[in-house]
């Protein structure tokens, strides 16, 4: 058990270090693949540049004005900002990330987008969400659940913070079969 926990912490630290050390996101090429022209027009350049997701969960979340939405692993804020646009100033958009530099970047991007009044970014882990029970209407996430070795714990936390009747829209990667061990054991392959 102790060895497993160490492995989980090593993966968490490797992922945090990897995301904390990159100098840019995947940029406009990936952003234009995942988001429509209309959605991209709603985002400041800084948020588009820091796109690092694998899908478009906000499109599938059908957010309503006034709702409280949590974006787990908010990165540069691209999905949090889109969510903030959908819930409007009567709602609340919360981004959560373990990388302090990403939190700073997301706050700046939310300010550039003009949604900072009802948007906040929290430093923390998806396995220990710093929010009360039953406080969120919707949870979105984009390419993040695959980054944790404690997926059941992360899902339990998402479940805990959701209000009864609350919903999730998560974009993530799935893999059928096993990756070759030289890839599966590479820390870069865990972060990417």
């Amino acid at each position: 058990m102790a060895k497993d926990l160490m492995y989980q912490n090593e993966i968490r630290d490797a992922v945090r270090d990897a995301y904390g050390s990159i100098a840019s996101g995947a940029g406009e090429v990936v952003a234009s693949m995942l988001y429509s022209e209309e959605e991209l027009a709603e985002l400041p350049a800084g948020a588009r540049d820091w796109a690092l997701g694998v899908g478009n969960p906000v499109r599938y979340a059908f957010l309503q004005p006034g709702e409280v939405v949590l974006d787990v692993g908010s990165g540069g804020g691209i999905d949090t900002i889109l969510a903030a646009r959908r819930v409007g100033s009567t709602g609340r958009a919360i981004g959560l990330d373990i990388v302090e530099a990403m939190i700073d970047r997301a706050r700046a991007n939310a300010s550039d987008a003009g949604v900072e009044g009802w948007t906040e970014f929290l430093l923390g882990e998806m396995e220990r969400v710093p929010l009360p029970d039953a406080s969120v209407d919707v949870v979105v996430s984009n390419g993040v659940l695959n980054l944790t070795a404690r997926k059941s714990r992360a899902l339990a936390e998402i479940f805990r913070v959701l209000k009864p009747g609350g919903r999730i829209a998560l974009a993530d990667l799935t893999v059928e079969g096993e990756l070759p061990p030289e890839i599966a054991n590479d820390q870069s392959a865990w972060a990417g």
Binding site: A26, N56, Y60, T148, P164, G165, L170
Partner: protein, 75 residues
């Protein structure tokens, strides 16, 4: 990507966490070329993927999906 689950396992974990009405859709294949756009992958691991995976898998090394579910109104 190394921590990605199989789709069936993902759905099972959602159920065990208490979620209902799980839905998985929006399937989109992810290629090695697409992965190389992300700065999180080192050049070394991208090259390792090209060497270690059969060439017929290079255009589909993982699948991007959307997973939806809801928390029941009553426990």
């Amino acid at each position: 990507m190394a921590g990605a689950l199989a789709e069936r396992v993902f759905a099972e974990k959602l159920g065990r966490a208490g979620f209902a009405d799980a839905w998985v859709g929006g399937h989109r294949p992810t290629s090695i070329d697409e992965a190389s756009q992300y700065p999180l992958f080192t050049d070394e691991v991208i090259e390792q993927m090209r060497r270690a995976l059969p060439s017929e898998q290079h255009d589909h090394i993982a699948t991007s999906v959307i997973v939806k579910a809801r928390k029941p109104e009553t426990p």
